[in-house]
Assembly symmetry: D2
Homo-oligomer: 326 residues x 4
């Protein structure tokens, strides 16, 4: 495997591309209620980001007949990693599609591919840091936009949580080929991994994988991060006043983070509002193992429960059924 001086590496989660069957409602939800900011609208695609996201967009929304997640994008550590990943993936028997610079506004050359489980991933390195109009710009040089303009107003994108029928296989792929580290996982009595939280950053997860009985390549939720626990309580008021049902607030044992789960009424995509949690700066981190016995505490340390498993929750409480990655 010594084709490269360095193995290509992923640096962080970049964005999620959502197709919505009711774009107007999705825009109301993500812009007015959640309070994401719009960087640009081009060719029917709305490019959104949170006030603390440094790049051009962390979410795209566009109209489509059926709601689904088009792709999940990760940024590589170096520019050459995009091509090197292409080589690595093709060696692993995966079809890779090159995406021209500018296909997504602000984004340089990228690649897309379906991981074996079926989810569509994108890898890119170059991404424009957009000029911001003076009235929207923070007075701080290190902060892209003024906060608290509207709605919940989270700081930045945090992670995606995916489902598949064979979590163990998907986790292995994410680890061996894409380089994600397992930070915490749930092990079934038969020693199979039924859920894992994985990251390339110091976050407990940039991506999680959970077992689903039938959905081979689904998105459980995408998450935006707020800075303080109390922001979750303010979010709960805002969601309630906008007539939106949600699960939470509560605190996960796994990740130690506070959560609220609420569904975009336009696309059906489940959004997690997320706050607090711990970080892993340890280079010798030993993945935390949860068993079926203590899993309940791992899923819900306290607060309104998300279901016995989150996967169960997904198709029951929050009614998320349509969003898929292909």
């Amino acid at each position: 495997m010594k084709k490269f001086e360095y193995l290509p590496e992923i640096a962080k989660l970049g964005h999620v591309a959502v197709i919505s069957a009711d774009l107007e409602k999705s825009l109301w939800f993500f812009k007015d209620v959640v309070g994401l900011e719009e960087t640009a609208v081009a060719d029917g695609v709305h490019y959104l980001r949170a006030w603390g996201d440094f790049e051009h967009h962390s979410l795209t929304l566009q109209a489509g007949e059926e709601s689904r997640v088009d792709h999940i994008a990760f940024k590589t550590k170096r520019r050459e990693d995009v091509n090197n990943f292409a080589i690595l993936l093709e060696d692993a028997g995966i079809d890779v599609t090159k995406v021209q610079a500018g296909t997504e506004k602000g984004q340089g050359e990228a690649i897309r591919f379906n991981i074996p489980a079926g989810h569509s991933f994108e890898l890119y390195f170059d991404m424009e840091k957009p000029l911001v109009e003076k009235y929207r710009k923070s007075v701080l040089k290190n902060q892209p936009l003024k906060p608290w303009n509207k709605g919940v107003s989270p700081r930045r994108i945090d992670h995606v949580n995916t489902v598949t029928t064979n979590a163990g296989e998907m986790v292995k792929f994410l680890k061996d080929i894409l380089g994600f580290n397992i930070r915490e996982y749930i092990k079934a009595p038969n020693d199979q991994i039924v859920a894992a939280w994985m990251s390339v950053t110091s976050l407990v997860h940039d991506i999680a994988v959970m077992t689903h009985p039938t959905d081979q390549h689904g998105l459980h939720h995408l998450a935006y991060w707020s800075e303080n626990a109390q922001d979750m309580l303010r979010a709960a008021d805002i969601l309630s006043e906008n007539g939106l049902k949600f699960v939470g607030p509560g605190k996960h044992g796994i990740t130690q983070a506070m959560y609220i789960y609420v569904q975009d009424p336009g696309s059906g995509v489940l959004l997690e509002l997320f706050a607090n949690g711990y970080q892993i700066f340890e280079p010798d981190w030993e993945p935390i193992e949860w068993t079926v016995e203590d899993m309940q505490l791992g899923v819900t340390y306290w607060g309104q429960e998300t279901g016995k498993t989150e996967a169960e929750q997904r198709s029951t409480n929050a009614g998320f059924t349509k969003s898929k990655t292909y």
Copy 2:
């Protein structure tokens, strides 16, 4: 009824006297986990208060064969109100017992009586403001004790919530004889009041009354108030780490306050940790009416639900069955 120049009036909730079948466990719960401070121990009675309670005690704990609430005490507005209430109550056909000064440590002359529903009430005016050892004293002249010494560390006692089989009658008594104002209430389809939140202060309730199918004179819970919503989240961590189950955090529609319900494992008494909420300074307040249709929102604006009615919750989730007032 012109026996007095002024009608006697109640100023505030004073304290709750709890008998515990497992005093040691109750002391652990209220002192170490909740973080109440001990003013004194005398004749087997532990006198506790929160760091912001100005009086000698807001909770007493003592051992007994069966756990129960011995009495709920309210402070009158003027010293002479204690006797004037005695006259008023006897006129209403209620037996009144005089309690000698010092029977409860720090407390002056008082009266005790059972309201028609059966709950035992105490009325007092004089209450010592105890000297505090220098190391426990706040540096602020207007604050009795240093905060954050241990556990949850709420600021002050807030309210009691009672149950009875005929809420309407008890509410009428509290209003007509004791002068509590109805602030919010739930009305059954037959126009009966099934629950009411009542106060003599600007708080939405100093006392609430809820219908219970069989319990004629019970305490649903007593509540201590913390200053900030985030204190509820810290409390949730502390309770979880101490192995205590609880309901919440959530936010009531009625009172607009955040809640956590947790049971004292010693006495079985249900404690509400409470924060935020609104105040009524309006002299022309019109009681807020909730119907069976919108009651659910009134009970739980968001968060982990307390049951379809709190009374239901009481005998299910929190398992509070033993504590009674006589």
Copy 3:
């Protein structure tokens, strides 16, 4: 003084009427930055209130050549108290002007008068509770408006803080004629009261009085209350991003409340954003005395200092010089 069955009583602070030399800037400040909601605009007067204020308005803004506070209004406990106060005040040698119902939109019959120190007060009882458009209405029956619509978004008006050259005399008037209780005060070495915090409610102050070397009848600041300490930190972000200088956050010893002081750039009126603090339900409250020695702790428990006295602060840090009541 037995002219009335009951002495008339004040129930609460109602509103402050501000004349602004730069109305547009004041509207930007109070509506967009602070986030007050507009109930109505009539005859050039903008009627504003916070989302948790139950009455028609808690602040009025109108254009004028010179910025000043036109009057401070308090609501009486009973309808007849308005007239009874008129009698009481005239007996005390004070000129009283009757104000027709509707002179202020939503308000019933009222009286206005200058207290001996010179500040213009208004007393009213009847005040419309305005109908709210569905999209602005809270889903909760006990909450007038949806919160978090814009800017800081405090819950309700809290208090006014006034200055005068002889604080002791003004305090005496507020106590003897208007019935305000002294809750805390600062005493000079010559035993004179140099500042006092006074209330008719359970708040530590509905009105404060501070000594000023030259200003006989000024407003130091008006205050709006937010529910949580963290709201002060979010407010600090919002003010900073809007290019507004402010003092704080900090915590007063007196009142135990958190503060931020920021000046309306239109009128020069100083606004205090205020959170937390303690309440006095004690009928036998003994006013807390602060001396010149411990006053510093009383003014600033911690955080950015407001000046050695607030009165000093007023003319230095915040530059509030123009607003006056006549």
Copy 4:
């Protein structure tokens, strides 16, 4: 420089070793007021850590005639990095001392050396994760200790901030030899770097360097991180009640984090209590440049100021003069 397959890398800040002229007072401060937990005491050394620190210790305290910082320790990414750094450093003309495993309790083989500016650094990889007594252990598998046991109770160590007479040179060393990335910096009109915030993690800084007129190798402060902004306000109460003077709360522009600065009364070491702030997951981060003109905003976004420069603050407000690294 191709001596190694991989260049050695630093993973994170590990701990700070403090010698205190008044150990008893330092232990009171760090254990009772700050609320750090004691892992072990051996040979007169107290090994402390926060409840969320995964390793054996993040602070050591021991008695000494003169208070000083003995060394600052960083953990490497791989075990072999410790030796590889030794080679790298000796190549750069720096004397390296090997430290036997167990010299510091829980720690494996390490190296110590003075950087050219004079500060004493330690590099280690192996560090024991200590067994925790059941009563102190969190119920969560991913959290070392129960939180909120005592005092401020921060989550984890965050960073160190150092001073030297030639910041530019020290920054160059940290970057070129030790691999720290510049995240933000202040540039003097003569184009010299006068302060820099540098990290190997996603934190804005694991170490900061600031110019000091005379101190060639000093520690400005060490910092512990709390999870929520409100924790800073609770900390302010706790410090005030313990009679400790401090600077803050405020919010830095650089790092966007809230701060309180308080001095250990035993050793004179300055401690920063720290919360919130942003993270850098961007692999193509361009260091944020602050100039003398906008530096004031960078140092204090809002709140009680830390001095025109923090270095100035160090010798004035907080009186930190004794702590040094050799």
